[in-house]
Symmetry: C2
Subunit: 468 residues, 2 copies
């Protein structure tokens, strides 16, 4: 059925770049957030149309058309959100930005790179590598997530502890506002102190304030050397204490990753390794010049040795380090694959607590899930206090488990907030964490809402996300 909406959008981008085909609309009705597969209420949402622009001008015209007709607009990258950030809960036009995936300029002179939002994280880094630079944020989905999505959600990853999250690398954005106007959030310079930082306001706004159509990132020199120390701790809380001590000592690791007991088995499988059974496995990476990386690793070792450990290994070979990190990332996924009836659920999966509260939070989170009989593997960007409970649902009993998972997720998020933390360290709020915002921010949520109203008075930009 070629309806009026199809015709109007086709005029802007050509009919080959619009779809209202029910099969397509079905595919665009969800993202990596698993809730819709279980909650039938969410499962029914469909976009009214999907459009695939290739230029900012097209995006502007699409949004202007939507604004005039009061149709919701949902920007979408690779759909790797596990908070439901791109689910069309109020219908509307999904603007698929994956065709806007060019690197516009690698400007080594000015230490900047200009990209379109649809470029894949790894593709960008591959291009930067030959210049000796990189874009440090590395979410678990770095092989397929878009940089636009990373900006919209302020993605983090394993290197955030040293290099910061996506926010810390964005220097300027081109944005299509909810009425179709195109703005640049700031001049593209390394240092600026004029006016409000619209750049920083749009980072992490999850598509609710406008569509990001161009991104200027600063370049970071690739470290010359990396040293990875892998340690198995007999006690999970000890691992937390050790991390806290390393951080306090002034050492700045480039990664501090923790995988719980269950993960060791699968990591061994992936690596064909023989790390002994233990409560927790810590990946501590140090980078810089060769001397610097090795020296920091040695300093960390002095701290680590004070704890009861079952295994320690130093790795200086880049390929071997990559192999270990791949195993770390694959640990939970692999575990699921071993047990066919299990599926991963993204709920309560991204909380952060102050670093000092990490040991307590690890223990408490385990208790919360175990009490409800939910299988969970705690994986953690532990140096930032960011804990990812990797929840596994038994698909054969999902109806009974769903309510329990919802309750447990609520309990861990509330625990994190009570400890002075947040429900989201790097995945964003989307639809899955909206209820925690008032508790986390109090009256400040009203300020956020006032900003949303001021910039998007008709509430057409990704409505129903972030705020309830």
């Amino acid at each position: 059925v070629k309806d009026k909406l199809f015709e109007s959008l086709s005029e802007i981008v050509g009919s080959e770049n619009v779809t209202i085909d029910p099969t397509d609309l079905y595919c665009y009705s969800f993202d990596a957030f698993s809730y819709p597969f279980i909650d039938k209420k969410l499962f029914k949402f469909r976009p009214t149309a999907v459009v695939m622009p290739t230029t900012t001008e097209q995006v502007s015209k699409i949004v202007k058309f939507a604004y005039e007709n009061r149709i919701p607009v949902i920007p979408k990258g690779a759909g790797t959100s596990i908070s439901g950030g791109s689910i069309p809960t109020q219908g509307g036009i999904i603007v698929d930005l994956t065709r806007m995936n060019k690197i516009k300029k690698i400007d080594v002179e000015n230490l900047l790179v200009v990209v379109e939002p649809g470029i894949i994280d790894d593709d960008l880094n591959l291009a930067l590598k030959s210049y000796g630079f990189f874009f440090p944020p590395d979410p678990g989905s770095h092989e397929y997530c878009t940089v636009g999505g990373m900006v919209a959600n302020n993605a983090g990853g394993m290197r955030a502890i040293k290099y910061g999250a996506t926010r810390d690398h964005v220097k300027s954005l081109e944005v299509v506002l909810p009425d179709g106007r195109i703005i640049r959030t700031s001049p593209s310079v390394l240092k600026i102190s004029s006016g409000y930082s619209l750049t920083q306001l749009f980072v992490g706004s999850e598509g609710t304030l406008g569509i990001i159509t161009e991104i200027t990132l600063k370049l970071t020199p690739l470290p010359e050397h990396r040293t990875l120390v892998v340690i198995a701790f007999k006690d999970l809380e000890d691992a937390g204490r050790c991390v806290s001590e390393i951080r306090k000592s002034g050492i700045i690791p480039s990664s501090l990753e923790l995988v719980e007991r269950y993960g060791i088995k699968t990591i061994n499988e992936i690596l064909k390794g023989n790390i002994p059974e233990a409560d927790a496995l810590l990946f501590a990476e140090f980078d810089g010049s060769f001397d610097e990386a090795v020296r920091q690793a040695k300093r960390a070792e002095e701290i680590i040795k004070k704890y009861e450990i079952a295994y320690i290994r130093f790795i200086d070979d880049e390929n071997e380090i990559e192999r270990f990190f791949k195993a770390r990332q694959g640990a939970a996924i692999r575990y699921i694959k071993l047990v066919p009836e299990l599926a991963r659920i993204g709920m309560g999966e991204d909380f952060v607590v102050p670093v000092s509260a990490v040991p307590k939070a690890l223990k408490k989170a385990r208790e919360i899930f175990e009490k409800k009989g939910i299988k969970v593997m705690l994986v953690s960007h532990i140096g930032d206090g960011n804990i990812h409970p990797f929840i596994m649902i038994d698909l054969t009993k999902k109806e009974e488990q769903w309510q329990k998972i919802l309750e447990a997720a609520r309990e861990v998020n509330n625990m994190a907030i009570e400890l002075g933390g947040t429900s989201s360290g790097e995945h964003g709020v989307g639809i899955s964490r909206r209820e925690f915002l008032p508790k986390e921010y109090g009256e400040a949520v009203e300020v956020m809402k006032a900003i949303k109203r001021a910039i998007d008075p008709e509430n057409i930009m990704n409505p129903g996300k972030i705020f309830e």
Copy 2:
């Protein structure tokens, strides 16, 4: 005269913490911005009252009172703004925050420090030093400026090239909104991705959106060692090219400071040194472990040697480094002291251009000022592209010169903007750079104004600043 306003404010903070004494009001009628001393129109502004709160609750009550009575509120720290950020151009209540100067918590466990806005930058760093940490931003006024002012203006300094500006260190703020409500902009964690970043919106908002009453900063480990390389270049543009090449090579200096020809003479005087006459003096600092700092300095030396230099010196002694940086900071001030009729003028003094445009911008800026017969010394955080023309006015001829300085400042700022830069790298907009905002931001200024209206609908918070 004890008027009604005095009585109302006295009820909140006690009469000893309020003043409407004309002498006091005179003293609070300006800051370090020099314009009012010359333009009689600006010189006449006076606050209606000055109040010195000691708690957030008092600030809240003061603002609520002002809100109900539609009285402008001007937050003020040490008054070191050279953009007129705290000049009461519309009268109103100046809230002097210098009595709120406590360090509330040095939380090494969580790598955070919590301070009141009135604390002096150097006092904070002195307290952090014994823990092995520091707060890296170091504006020229670090001995007397307040951290609250640094946050409000997103202050930078010499280390911004490696450690970022103030923005990059702020994790959470407590803010009194324009109606007196108290909010916390976010939980105090190292990593967060929930909701809009109000923290980053308030950083650099120059008191126009609310009063910052508490600041949570992340702690940065003090580097173990610093190595300073001081180089005299025969040619100014060569210095610019060399800096660009160092940056491109992937070396990350902790400072890259440039002083022009005139400065060398005064630096020699201060140091009792014998640096030969040259077009430009470059301070390149490298920090980290001893090996790392020295190694980076050596790598930089290889690049530097390709240029015609008149002098190079490597300094590894901390005290000697401090002595050199003090001389760098004092260069222009000292020059003024040598010539009694000169006074410094802060106009067009903070522009930024892309790093690649630095050589061109240095040359162009000199031409602009010289053509108008204005004495200028170009000092620069050159690694960020941030250039400070230190303009000197002949007090005996200030009436004739004033118009010329205004024109030259406009010319350099416009040049910077045309080169893709900004009129302010670290000093803020205040009243002195408002006219450049539309040119720098275009339509985006309307978004900033919409945010201002949404958060401060009665326009009582530092009115007339940032926007014209």
